[in-house]
Amino acid sequence: MILAIDTSLGTSVAVVGGDIVTESATLDTRSHAEHIGEFIDRVITDSGLTPADVTTVVVGIGPGPFTGLRVGIAAGVAFAFGQGIPVLGISSHDAVAVGVDACTVVTDVRRRELAWTSYRNGVVVAGPGLTTEATLASDVDLTEFPEVRAGTISAAMLAAAAQQRIDRGDDLSSVAPLYLRAPDATPSNGPKRVSG
């Protein structure tokens, strides 16, 4: 039984396994820390399961706005720690590319920037990278890999993507976020003068 969590856009949590697909999600992109606990609790309870039934946790590691993204990854790590089970990380874009022959997944990462990843049959062929609305078409081959603009990431689809990658034998052990941007800080040039 997989517990899947994605907070790269809104908050989406799902339990997937056997006949069960239970998902809880919100489009709200600014309330990840509020929703995450209830959503995990709800999908497990509504599936008639207990936390001990979960055997693997999968988290979406972005790309996405950092503050919210970290909430889901932290939750996934902590849930897995509590149960002594593995936590796996996959790109949140993988969830959108499931079952599509060729596509470029594009999501909004704020500050007027877009994140993109191009896929063929669920396998990354280019990206992930950052671009803008103005430069997307020149940065990315949208002819061979048509754009799929995603406003949400489904945790159930994330679980499906993870299952495919597990079956392929991919190493998913890193849950480090796909930040794609360095922290916004510059070293100080020394104190400013205060006397005339």
Binding site: S31, H32, A33, E34, H35, I36, G37, E38, I40, D41, I44, T50, P51, F66, T67, G68, R70, V71, G72, I73, A74, A75, G76, V77, A78, F79, A80, F81, G82, Q83, A176, P177, Y179, P183, D184, A185, T186, P187, S188, G190, P191, R193, V194, S195
Partner: protein, 345 residues
């Protein structure tokens, strides 16, 4: 439940802390700090701190459980700092704590970080109960607060706080002026040993009678920092030890004077120091001297419990459990400006 087993998570600033207590007994206190990563910037960069929390999360959780030598199924509750602090940093701890609570099927307490600093005092080695009422002076890179605590759950009052820079921030900024490394406190302490604390009369913020009307127990260190900068820029010959000692004396003087005044005005005979700046040698010495003069018992927890840590969060959580306080609902938000009279969110 008199001796609840509680795991506490702290991530309000640049320390990732996981602590485990049984009642008032400390079982584990594991801290990962991103301080070194902030040194080049001269202060805590929120995004760097938040990234470091996530990287440190699994390791600190695991190390704490190993150190405490407990089975996590035996925990009675999870506690987490819900604020005040850096929102993006707090969210890492809160997200983790919520999921851990659901995973283990345990109640969750979102607690006040500043009250946690007071709660650290219950982890005293003699195992005694916390003695109240007390005035608490909490001084760090992010906070400078004076609290009156009559009851840890129901009666915590903010007497005053900084209206601009935190005291620790002032130490960092003055250290930069003197070309000393970050964090400034220990380095200013080190060079001040050879200096004359009375060499330069730097201002004592918010101590004039006109200021005391509205800011009896508030602090201000911004003007002091500027006064030091002006002195360093304009003095013919600058003795770094004298500047460091005189600056430190001004901070220690104002902090301890207001704290002791608060004890006297409220008839309280205990003063608790907390926060990283409680490590400062001169602040400790002057607090001890003035408390002794006024018949006030001074309490300073060990440094590992003064700086931000998960054990103090666990201790406050254990206190709430023991008192029969209901847990938080799972949907609480982080609150970067959580007021001290909200002990549990």
């Amino acid at each position: 439940m008199n001796e609840p087993l509680v795991l506490g998570i702290e991530s309000s600033c640049d320390e990732t802390g996981v602590g485990i207590v049984r009642g008032t007994t400390l079982l584990a206190n594991v801290i990962a700090s991103s301080m070194d990563q902030h040194a080049v910037f001269g202060g805590v960069v929120p995004e760097i701190a938040a990234r470091a929390h996530l990287e440190a999360l699994r390791g600190t959780l695991s190390a704490a459980v190993t150190e405490a030598n407990i089975r996590i199924d035996d925990l009675d509750a999870i506690a987490v700092a819900a604020g005040p602090g850096l929102a993006g940093a707090l969210m890492v701890g809160v997200g983790a704590a919520k999921a851990l609570a659901v995973s283990l099927g345990k109640p969750l307490y979102g607690v006040n970080h500043l009250v946690g600093h007071v709660g650290a005092d219950v982890l005293r080695e003699d195992g005694g109960e916390i003695e109240l009422p007390t005035v608490a002076l909490l001084v760090s890179g992010g906070h400078t607060s004076l609290l009156l605590v009559r009851d840890l759950v129901t009666d915590v009052v903010l007497l005053g706080e900084t209206i601009d820079d935190a005291a620790g921030e002032a130490f960092d900024k003055v250290a930069r002026l003197l070309k000393l490394p970050y964090p400034g406190g220990p380095h200013i302490d080190r060079v001040a040993i050879d200096g004359d604390p009375n060499a330069i009369r730097f201002p004592r913020g918010l101590t004039l009678p006109k200021d005391l009307v509205n800011h009896r127990y508030d602090f201000s260190f911004s003007g002091l920092k500027t006064a030091v900068a002006r002195y360093v820029e304009t003095a013919d010959a600058v003795s770094i030890p004298d500047v460091a000692a005189s600056f430190r004396e001004s901070v220690a003087d104002v902090l301890t004077r207001k704290a002791v005044d608060a004890c006297r005005e409220h008839g309280v005979t205990r003063l608790l120091l907390g926060g990283g700046v409680a490590a400062n040698a001169r602040i400790r010495a002057l607090a001890a001297e003035r408390c002794a003069e006024n018949g006030i018992e001074l309490r300073v927890p060990p440094l590992a419990l003064c700086t931000d840590n998960g054990a103090m969060i666990a201790a406050l959580g254990a206190h709430l459990v023991a008192r029969g306080v209901a847990p938080s609902s799972l949907d609480f938000p982080v609150d970067s400006t959580l007021p001290v009279d909200t002990v549990r969110v």
